[in-house]
Subunit: 237 residues, 4 copies
Amino acid sequence: MIKVTIFNEFRHEKQKESIRAIYPDGIHGAIKAGIEDEEILVRTVTLDDPECGLTQEVLDDTDVLLWWGHMAHHEVPDEVAQRVRDAVHSGMGAIFLHSGHHSKPFRLLMGTPCNLTWREDGDYELVWVVNPAHPIAQGIGRFIKLEEVETYGEPFSIPEPDELVFIGSYEGGEVFRSGCCWQRGNGRVFYFQPGHETYPIYHQPEIVKVIKNAIHWAKPTYRAIIECPHVKKPLAE
Amino acid sequence: MIKVTIFNEFRHEKQKESIRAIYPDGIHGAIKAGIEDEEILVRTVTLDDPECGLTQEVLDDTDVLLWWGHMAHHEVPDEVAQRVRDAVHSGMGAIFLHSGHHSKPFRLLMGTPCNLTWREDGDYELVWVVNPAHPIAQGIGRFIKLEEVETYGEPFSIPEPDELVFIGSYEGGEVFRSGCCWQRGNGRVFYFQPGHETYPIYHQPEIVKVIKNAIHWAKPTYRAIIECPHVKKPLAE
Amino acid sequence: MIKVTIFNEFRHEKQKESIRAIYPDGIHGAIKAGIEDEEILVRTVTLDDPECGLTQEVLDDTDVLLWWGHMAHHEVPDEVAQRVRDAVHSGMGAIFLHSGHHSKPFRLLMGTPCNLTWREDGDYELVWVVNPAHPIAQGIGRFIKLEEVETYGEPFSIPEPDELVFIGSYEGGEVFRSGCCWQRGNGRVFYFQPGHETYPIYHQPEIVKVIKNAIHWAKPTYRAIIECPHVKKPLAE
Amino acid sequence: MIKVTIFNEFRHEKQKESIRAIYPDGIHGAIKAGIEDEEILVRTVTLDDPECGLTQEVLDDTDVLLWWGHMAHHEVPDEVAQRVRDAVHSGMGAIFLHSGHHSKPFRLLMGTPCNLTWREDGDYELVWVVNPAHPIAQGIGRFIKLEEVETYGEPFSIPEPDELVFIGSYEGGEVFRSGCCWQRGNGRVFYFQPGHETYPIYHQPEIVKVIKNAIHWAKPTYRAIIECPHVKKPLAE
């Protein structure tokens, strides 16, 4: 059983009728409904929970954390963001969705601005599989078509990904590294670009499939706090 | 002074009037005219020269080799391809253009099939800068627009690039890692996708600029044959 | 069930009494005895089998190939080496052991000379875990001590590994990237340095553990021949 | 002319006679004396300067920053550390020396703990060249011998380096990735392990040579603040 925690900012859905119509149970609710099965157990937390719902206890009990945030990144306390970063270092997997590129924990883990170019014109997007043998791309064809999306464009100021899985192209011609993998400490990090709040993207089966694949890929191999020990000579031990 | 050798297959230009109209002096002639300046000295060789013009003597006198081939990859003798590979190992830079993805030396250097998907519909292409700080991207804006190209699509079966500089998008929606860097032995390799023979792409100033930047990037830092020596204990030396 | 094929050159063991004393059933026999369990099914082949035992049929029926060779790399026919390379491209995993760094298929997959420095003084070696969260390092402590080994030293002329798992140090002071991962086409490749024929290294439990871990890591995710198809416009499909 | 700023904590030298004897002008003074030439112009700043001497004005006027700190990392104000990180993002090069692995800006740039194992037994170290063609390794032989050092050991919890240039081995048998390169935003980062305060390491010519090479490698290619602009459709521009 993989224990997944979904963090959702959960503001857009409360503030705007049109978004609530797409995600009546919140983005977290839609993702939970999509991914939960006999191998994946899901807990959800939101920005307005005490400590964003991300206490040390919750993180210690989480194999893979999903993160969706957008308009209120700054309201996540620094100490919560650092706790998430440290949990990844200790082996927890983390999947950052869409506008999560600007979330505090993602930026802390990347060490770069994570900026990009953007526009909202309802372009279609084609999300292309670059590495068909990657575990995260299994069960997906050559590309996923998304009917309407927010457009993200390069340059995306991230460290060179350890593995690049998807590249998106947009109706207007932009490209974006839309599926990227990194290791940070003992934990694995996946960024996945699709998911603007004004479109029903998390209801699309291929998107759910990618997220499930990513959860399996990101689950911990080795969980331990990384320390900086004073040691003896190896052969004297 | 950087000594550049351009290898061009030089068959399309001889066989087809429409192509000869674009490249009356051959693709090699057009590239040479574009890149030659007070820092870059150019020699050209073609498939029909003895040993493809790529004798050991020529390679030893080459800092950076440019390669354009398409319809006659199989006519390059294996021993010439291996000699080029070995020269890269010894420090020579190499830039493979467009359909050079399927050339023998590029495949030998990559260790992968270097396959892709393709179609010829005269799409426009936007070649996007992914890494604006990379030496090869200097002087280029956000993207290069090419009016008509052959379309290449992912998956491009190459090793994960050491550095990804450009990603192209096409009118029909494909994406392609169109500017990729690798080190192989002591030498540097750059692959650059634009350049189909039926379009005047090598006359376009931004394309010439990228090739010149790549020549400066790929020039040897250290030139030495890599051996496998029997050694003594380091502190006994 | 993971289907493993062990290729062993099997010459040293036949020619030299002292080596036969360590590996009475051949190096392949010792490794087979070590790794076989309810999840791993092992077949062994040797250089003197017809086609080295590596027919297309055998490779198609192999999930992960282990390779040990040393004195007779040149006797492996080029077409067998290319068949192994192509099987990796199509998704088969491959683990190259010790002097397999100079085998034909490893060099074809790397695209580099794969040279190193070497000496035989019976040094001890410490094989250090660099990435404790990597699947291949699970169950290993900080390092593995090998009492007596052949010494390999840097520079090891390989492409920058996708993931570096182990670095070895030797009594005389050399270092060597002794556990390295790459993807090539759809397949995964692991190089593991320990294993000289004159020492009982493949009888050591931690070495067996690493090889078993690597088999699990390298087993195919996606098995398909990589082609270069002519395609239609994506949205016209 | 490359403008270099050396930041030195400058506490050990003031507090301990034995260290002052080695570095009477401070570690910064010794490095400055070693590297300054007709191409490299050096300014030095220390922890006790206002804002650590690292005002925005100074960083804007710096091509490459060198950083040495150890006992007082926590006294560097967060806002100074963030300013350094942001300057790297905007294209400034940065070289972190020895115990600078734990400095605030290095950790911010890496996104990992940057922990390691350590002991102080006056071991000798051999710093091996792993990539002889790398610009930072030019003019260095197979290895650098350091007579007495502090021992650092793996695992070193850093992101997989973009390029690994040096690996150190120690008398007691440890290994350490002692020369590592990354790009972060538009800037280049090099970590170089040698340099404990109790040994005259920065007086050793090969160490000075490596630092000078690294300065040339890290100097900015492209200097610009990375923003996150709202854009128009590319072909509408």
